[in-house]
């Protein structure tokens, strides 16, 4: 079955503006499904999907699982953090086994960059990347784009700064590709130890001080600080990180305009973001979560060969 997106969704790097726009447009009517008393459409009835999570995840897994169930698919969860299946060789056999069981789609999260692409190249089932190492987390990028488009109407020319641990972040990478494809300007800001040296090659502006980023941006996408980075010597202390790079009301009051605040969750309140910002009127952190289900429904639906105009095409029986 050919789909508008090809067989797999591995990342946003290789998508075109037209493809991203189609996903966001398809997500729109799916938003409404989750607001109904009966949150269910039969679009993927009788399709079988495996959620193959090699890294622990609660919210991404739940979001995918409800997206799948609201599309009436049959789902099975496989969670195996740190087990022998995380070895490359065996991933091939796992993949071939899933294909042999005639699984229609595999949603994979894996600690190794490239795992989703590796899997997708080896099976006919559609593969969706739910995060692979430091590479990409495309549905997170898409829900961020949808949330920004909801508020600003268009992404063209929008200035978005990604703040924090850009080096280790697949969320950052998917955001950079997605935003660039859609014509937005992208900044990144974080400790020198956590911003890759060659990042400007991706067409982004590097801000060394968060105060400068705040002067420049329309929106901030605040990344989660992996607390193990402190042991790694990347940052001196959480307190110091918060003082210099934490997004606080005090810093935001110096901005020339109100900045929209995004965060992929889960938050370290008081570290990379203060609670009054996270819960403030310009935060769209919860709308991001709501959009996550709709975007995942759209991706699942399109990969299964659905037409972008599903709401008017009889899929919504």
């Amino acid at each position: 079955m050919t789909s508008l997106l090809g067989k797999d969704l591995v990342g946003l790097e290789r998508l075109t503006r037209e493809q991203i726009t189609a996903i966001l447009d398809t997500a729109e009517p799916f938003k409404e499904v989750s607001e109904r008393p009966i949150k269910k459409v039969p679009a993927l009835r009788g399709k079988t999907i495996v959620n193959l999570f090699f890294e622990a995840s609660t919210r991404t897994r739940i979001s995918f699982e409800f997206a799948e169930k609201r599309l009436s698919a049959d789902t099975v969860n496989v969670q195996s953090a740190g087990s022998s299946v995380s070895k490359g060789e065996t991933l091939v056999d796992t993949a071939r086994n899933l294909e042999a069981m005639r699984i229609d789609m595999v949603v994979i999260r894996h600690g190794a960059s490239g795992a989703a692409s590796f899997l997708g190249d080896r099976i006919r089932s559609n593969v969706i990347n739910a995060g692979d190492g430091k590479h990409e987390h495309p549905t997170q990028g898409l829900l961020d784009l949808l949330t920004l488009r909801d508020r600003f109407g268009s992404l063209e020319g929008l200035k978005v700064c990604i703040v924090g641990d850009v080096l280790h972040s697949r969320v950052a990478r998917s955001n950079i590709w997605g935003l660039r494809h859609m014509g937005a300007e992208v900044g990144v800001c974080g400790p020198a130890t956590l911003v890759p040296r060659d990042i400007e090659a991706l067409g982004v502006t590097v801000f060394r001080r968060v105060e400068e980023a705040i002067q420049w941006a329309d929106a901030l996408n605040v990344l989660r600080l992996q607390l193990e980075r402190m042991q790694g010597g990347f940052i001196p202390s959480l307190r110091e990180y918060n003082r210099v790079f934490g997004i606080t009301t005090e810093k935001l009051t110096r901005a020339p305009k109100d900045l929209l605040i995004l965060h992929p969750g889960p938050m370290n309140r008081g570290v990379e973001i203060d609670s009054d910002v996270a819960d403030g009127e310009h935060s769209v952190i919860l709308p991001q979560v709501t959009n996550g289900v709709a975007v995942r429904m759209a991706v699942l639906y399109l990969l299964a060969g659905g037409a972008p105009d599903w709401a008017t095409s009889g899929a919504d029986k």
Copy 2:
């Protein structure tokens, strides 16, 4: 959607006799659903439910999950014993995330007393307490009430004695509230270290010796002894506990009448209850389990706004 029960079921303390009666009456026709070849009614079709278990549990989780599936709801399990999500702060964010995903209902088990109420106050989704610390386990209380009503016809004036570790037991607390609301007389009996000093304020009679309780009661609800209580110094030994407080055939033969025997499970056979009592003709331990599914179906159905007379109202298509 307003329901007969309000938004959440946090405990039996605040329910009225009318509300409890409505739940028990609604459970009656649901019992029959589980006896059918096709154990399914469409009452909650398209509703999305999260079973959020911060404490390990097999039987309560299975019972809820089948109750949900027999009502045609879509369910997702989240199990995270001892993880970072068990911290209060993060529970708020977990809750808000679930709400943002438009989850209709959350069934929560948590080690902290008050967790279910805390969650319910912060989200619009219905919340059902599946056990919170030492506070309440309301669906266990309700299934005990239903089982007693099945055998005695009415709960009014019935004498029920709860035997064992009353101090740490949320089952005891839900039973006391539920039985008192329904007009039953409640006794408690256990080691002085395991019966709260101020328990008589709840309107219960304290029996120091289980032989006295047996003389008085119509039914005994035998609590599970948490074996870690022995390390805590609450009881001298399991053997001694069994000799003094264990429910044995030998003790029961001195009763003036046949006592109905309840136990919430899982049992420590030979400790708080002997096998010949647990498996004897006056034991209703397995009917309790059967009633558990029906009572949970009734609670889910009523919280979703269902009418108590569902069986005759067309819900059972």
Copy 3:
């Protein structure tokens, strides 16, 4: 409900040739269900099934779960490796609880030989053995039979050699019973430490050298080597095992004909089987996996009282 197979499927030892043939024949139309765009028939709609796995398993559990879902059953997973429920006594209470919840079927995997039979004797629900200790793994045996029948047309007179750790293998045992019932000739070949002394009493031929087995057989069923056997002193080293008993292209080229290659998975590539054999043109390792779903659908369907001619009897609405 009486079924063609009786109440439970505990092993292939007690099945007749007619019963096995009925399962394989019933699996045929179910194969086709998994090739459809909508992989779902309503045969078990409203049935409730528990997958009770006391030993970790990914592929068997997924295979059963999709078999159940493609039959429209409602399923709940219980996984409890190494927990207290693995004790015999508590298994009775677990069983009685599941029955009290009116579970229609239980799929059980357990480390103790006889666990499935023990469970089946104590509850009215249908019980399917998904592997019990060193005893049997009947659905694996059945999928092997189906795969052999697919290629050879008939099992009568077929020569199949099981290679490897026969001593500890429930797969070997189910294969031997199944193949013998169907009129095939069975050989076994492995290190003397891993082949039971009395195995010839089951009507099998023992080959000491794999080269002899290759001369004799039409098909090889290569068992997974449990790597902990090396610590147990059963084999000198993995390299030595591969040299002597590993199935390699080099050994197979000396066979008088092309041998069909089966393996129950997961494979230790380079130990009991080389990759060029596993992925070669005579390997049916992936068709085995595909057949696994169909055979499990057939067993579930027949135990639920379905008629063998389901595809023409209106079950496939």
